[in-house]
């Protein structure tokens, strides 16, 4: 038995199973030499014309480019550059229909040729032998050469194979009917193709180079034999004409008897296949320095007046090719890119020639009839006989129709080369290949989904873990902080004590007050030790009740509280704002106790509310400023209930403005604004019932606000709105209104981002809604102004949407209550 190499040397050929013999139709286009076309008026170059990633753009709209200039730079793996096919100007870079059955737009460079066709500087190589492997690979890479047989695999990757290559197979088979591009190229440029082969020989060092050409191209065979006569390692083999012997796996089988394993590549069995067109491009790139900017395209079919092969610049629109060759379309004209067996009908002729375009077929309705209706499979098994991959097309068809993807894979659907032989022989005209293509795409998609789901799961679990960890940390921190909180509170109590004593001296106070003060401090400490929410809620409910009683009480004690107003005004004289505020706080406390000495129990209750707030505030450093402002507000509140209402209001405004000016930090300003709102709110309250409700809302809101940092801005706006509304309900409506506007405008000015304004407006709307729902007639007077103002401020349409949404929700939420 001879070795494989000896058999090959002797000219032995093997056979692949199956195959069909469709009518050749090659004589249409192989009678004339390859023609040169006039320059088209524009060239559309998709960035990606091959398998792999596209390169990075190097040019911009308006740039002038030279013929052969690189327009993209290869970046990621498997990416190839594209080059300007002629000199001209780049007029656009945008997604354009691509050379794909879907014609989905793909980013393309549009060049308007200037007609000069001036080359950029080329660097041809003369000393091939001296070049290193790396340099040669780089030349192939930078010339943008991709497999020109159809798949468009980047040639530099193939040429850089790390597996030992035994046989280099040159594919000059061109088995599809109609196509003669490779035939003509071999006839006219055999020399260059052999040069390209020699480059590959140097790169891959194969034992033999086998050129496979179908025996229906005698002229090409003769030309190739002549061109490679000097090189004994190159063998030209004439192989019997049978479709699809030009398939990579089939050609390897015919020439070397080897079979490419399923899901493998030819390099796995030491074989590498190159198309003659690719080899020609390699020789051009190496010996002339020209990148891949044009290729031979067969323009054929019965509707073409001059069917022949043409040199088409990459990026030429199909329409230009058809026009140049004389195109007389018939009704329902189809234009096919590729051959009749494996090509696809173009959705439009405004699609560019790309590196893999070998044929444009414009058949009339007789030569390539529309497929008839699909009929039932008669199980004749002709498809199985024709399948060059020895698959079972009929079985695959059943599974594809029932979407049984597991079974499809078990029946090796992915070994199908989509040659179309089965569809060709099917007597029932079942478009088998179409079914396989759909099924393949579905399976690929499912696999991608699977991978994505897997990743989503991972991320979800990672997130869950993270959240748990964070919660754990928070709990630990909380435990630590509560144990620590007791101490500062005690200190605070001492300070409060001392201050209370000072106050005692200033305003003649009874000793009872100091005791109450102390009791209060104690309570504050107690409160801090109970972070439990339910406790707080209970407290709040009690407080509400208390506040109601308290207000009624105060109403009757107007006269008594007038004293306190005098006292506070004297304190305003203090220069340092902080001290003034601290004093004001204490003063407020004093007046409170003075008024309510008979009702000590009630007073202490209202204090509990304060002490309740304190631990929360103590935790946040910034909140100290807020606490101060709050006290000032309380003070003003009590003043507001005296007969000296007008005096109190002007004062309020002052207190309001003063800290705002003083406080530079925006956060503090906001906190104050919030408190000012509270103050104004309480001023307006003549009736206890009204007070109780909004107050509860506020206390309720507080922790939520503290949690979300960004929400502060919104909270501010909300408070301002609340203030405005409640003021509107007082007798002093006119005074309150301008104030409202001021507070309203201020944060808006401060908030530069338009978005905040929007959020504010939204909240205002919410507020108004709430108000109207809970307080019917009372709020209705003040209401219309605020939302309207806000709405004016809100410019964007999105806001309106958001508002409407929230309002609806609000209403829904309020209706049952």
């Amino acid at each position: 038995m001879d070795s494989l190499l000896e058999q090959i040397e002797r000219g032995t050929l093997w056979q692949f199973p199956g195959g069909v013999h469709p009518p050749q139709q090659k004589s249409l286009s192989n009678q004339q030499p390859i023609a040169r076309l006039p320059l088209p008026d524009k060239l559309v170059l998709p960035l990606k014309q091959h398998i792999g990633a596209n390169g990075q753009l190097l040019v911009d709209v308006g740039d002038k480019v030279q013929k052969g200039q690189a327009l993209t730079k290869p970046s990621a793996n498997w990416s190839l550059p594209v080059h300007a096919p002629t000199s001209g100007e780049i007029i656009d870079i945008k997604p354009m229909p691509s050379a794909h059955p879907s014609a989905l737009p793909e980013l393309s460079i549009v060049i308007a040729p200037d007609g000069n066709d001036t080359w950029c500087e080329l660097s041809p190589i003369s000393n091939l032998q001296e070049l290193s492997h790396k340099t040669l690979i780089d030349i192939l890479h930078n010339a943008g050469i991709a497999g020109m047989g159809g798949a468009g695999f980047p040639t530099y990757i193939k040429a850089d194979s790390h597996q030992p290559i035994e046989f280099l197979v040159v594919n000059g088979v061109e088995c599809e009917p109609y196509i003669t591009a490779d035939d003509l190229l071999m006839r006219e440029h055999a020399q260059e193709i052999v040069q390209g082969i020699e480059v590959m020989q140097q790169l891959l060092k194969p034992q033999r180079v086998l050129i496979g050409i179908e025996d229906n191209k005698p002229q090409a065979i003769a030309a190739m034999e002549q061109a490679c006569a000097h090189n004994s390692a190159i063998l030209v083999r004439s192989i019997p004409t049978k479709y699809p012997s030009g398939g990579e796996k089939q050609l390897i089988r015919v020439l070397t008897s080897k079979e490419v394993p399923s899901a493998g590549i030819p390099a796995d069995i030491g074989v590498l296949v190159q198309n003659v067109g690719t080899l020609f491009a390699i020789s051009e790139a190496v010996y002339k320095g020209k990148p891949l900017i044009e290729r031979v395209v067969t323009v054929t079919g019965n509707t073409i007046n001059k069917p022949q092969n043409v040199w088409a610049l990459i990026g030429t629109e199909i329409k230009h090719l058809l026009d140049c060759q004389g195109f007389t379309p018939v009704p329902e004209q189809r234009v096919v890119m590729g051959g009749p067996m494996m090509g696809f009908t173009l959705p439009t002729v405004r699609i560019p020639v790309v590196k893999t375009t070998n044929c444009i077929l414009a058949p009339d309705n007789q030569e390539l009839a529309e497929p008839g209706d699909e009929k039932a499979c008669i199980r004749c098994s002709a498809c199985a006989d024709a399948c060059p991959q020895t698959l079972l097309p009929q079985q695959l068809q059943w599974f594809a129709k029932s979407k049984d993807y597991d079974k499809l894979e078990a029946y090796n659907l992915f070994d199908c080369i989509e040659c179309g032989a089965c569809s060709y022989v099917c007597p029932s005209e079942i478009p088998l290949v179409q079914y396989y293509r759909v099924a393949k795409a579905e399976i690929r998609e499912q696999k991608l989904d699977q991978i994505k789901a897997e990743r989503a799961k991972e991320r979800f679990e990672a997130r869950k873990e993270r959240l748990e960890r964070e919660q754990q940390e928070r709990q630990n921190k909380h435990k630590r902080s509560t144990s620590r909180a007791a101490k500062p509170d005690a200190e605070k109590a001492k300070v409060a004590d001392a201050l209370a004593r000072v106050k005692q001296k200033q305003g003649d106070q009874s000793a009872v007050q100091a005791a109450i003060e102390r009791a209060k401090a104690k309570k504050a400490a107690d409160g801090s030790l109970e972070p439990d929410n339910s406790e707080v809620a209970l407290e709040r409910a009690r407080r509400k009740e208390q506040a109601r009683q308290y207000k009624e009480q105060k109403h009757s004690e107007d006269a008594a509280s007038s004293e306190s107003s005098n006292e506070t005004s004297s304190k305003k004289d203090a220069v340092a704002a902080a001290i003034a505020r601290a004093k004001a706080k204490k003063a407020a406390q004093q007046s409170e106790q003075q008024n309510e000495q008979p009702q000590q129990a009630q007073a202490s209750e209202s204090e509990t509310k304060k002490s309740d707030d304190e631990p929360r505030k103590a935790a946040v450093a910034a909140a100290i400023a807020r606490a101060k402002a709050k006290k000032a507000a309380q003070q003003a509140e009590q003043q507001g209930e005296t007969q000296a209402e007008q005096a109190a209001e002007s004062e309020t405004n002052k207190t309001d403005d003063d800290p705002r000016k003083a406080a530079v930090a925006a956060a503090i300003a906001r906190a104050k604004a919030k408190k000012a709102a509270q103050q104004a709110e309480q001023q307006g309250e003549t009736r206890a019932e009204q007070t109780a409700e909004p107050e509860t809302n506020k206390t309720d809101d507080d922790p939520r606000k503290a949690a979300v940092a960004a929400a502060i801005a919104r909270a501010k706006a909300k408070k301002a709105a609340q203030q405005a509304e409640q003021q509107g309900e007082t007798q002093a409506e006119q005074t309150a209104e301008p104030e409202t506007n001021k507070t309203d405008d201020d944060p808006r000015k401060a908030a530069v981002a338009a978005a905040i304004a929007r959020a504010k407006a939204k909240k205002a709307a919410q507020q108004a809604e709430q108000q109207s729902a809970s307080q019917g007639e009372h709020g209705s007077d003040a209401e219309p102004q605020t939302p309207e103002q806000k709405r004016q401020a809100a410019i964007k349409a999105a806001v309106a949407k958001a508002k409407a949404k929230k309002q609806a929700k609000e209403q829904e939420g309020n209706d049952p209550s």
Binding site: S98, H100, P101, S102, L104, E106, E370, P371, D373, E374, K375, A376, P431, Q434, Y435, R437, V438, A441, E442, E445, L448, D449, K452, A453, E454, R455, A456, K457, R459, F460, A462, R463, K464, V708, A709, A710, A711, R714, A753, A755, I756, R758, A759, K762, K796, A798, V799, K801, A802, K805
Partner: protein, 184 residues
């Protein structure tokens, strides 16, 4: 007497084999994939919570405990069918009259309208939104499962759910486009 011996012999044999079998059952136990894992593998892992459970895994557990299999709108009919196969029950139409073929979407944040509130970030079950307080947020669309959970919390409604754009890689041959008729 013979009866007695026979009983002893058989009894001891039974004991010996019983011990061997018991040991083998423990020692060579085949680790089978628990049903929950199998169900979880079928679910689309969007973590959208449309089934009423906080994520795909909890729903998988619920299914394993006998819950309905038709509560997963993102999975569509295909998922229901697979679950029916796995659980050995009849496939049912999706609950809530959802369409059988769900459209895949990804979230898109209109970035000039984003106020940086981080609410969507907290809502995203797969951490596919990046951003920080008062900084613009954006969606990593490769990681987005299209669960819609970020749309609701947004205070300014700047999140859109856009259908996933088709590329040449995801494009599928349309059988209808080539005038294929389904025959029965």
């Amino acid at each position: 007497m013979t009866l007695f011996y026979a009983l002893i012999a058989l009894g001891s044999l039974a004991l010996v084999f019983g011990l061997i079998l018991g040991y083998a059952a423990v020692k060579y136990r085949v680790e089978s994939n628990p049903i929950v894992d199998q169900v979880d593998a079928i679910l689309p892992q969007t973590q959208c919570g449309q089934c009423g459970y906080p994520g795909c895994r909890p729903y998988a557990e619920a299914i394993a405990n006998g819950d309905e299999i038709n509560k997963c709108p993102p999975g569509g009919e295909a998922t229901v069918k697979k679950l029916a196969d796995l659980m050995g029950v009849e496939p049912k139409p999706l609950a809530g009259g959802e369409q059988a073929e769900p459209v895949k979407t990804v979230a898109y944040i209109r970035e000039d309208e984003c106020i940086g509130c981080t609410k969507c970030i907290q809502a995203c079950p797969v951490d596919a939104i990046v951003g920080a307080t008062r900084q613009m947020h954006t969606v990593i669309d490769d990681e987005c499962t299209g669960c819609d959970l970020c749309v609701e919390p947004c205070p300014v409604d700047c999140i859109d759910m856009l259908p996933v754009e088709q590329t040449k890689q995801t494009w599928k041959w349309q059988l209808d486009a080539i005038a294929v008729k389904q025959i029965d």
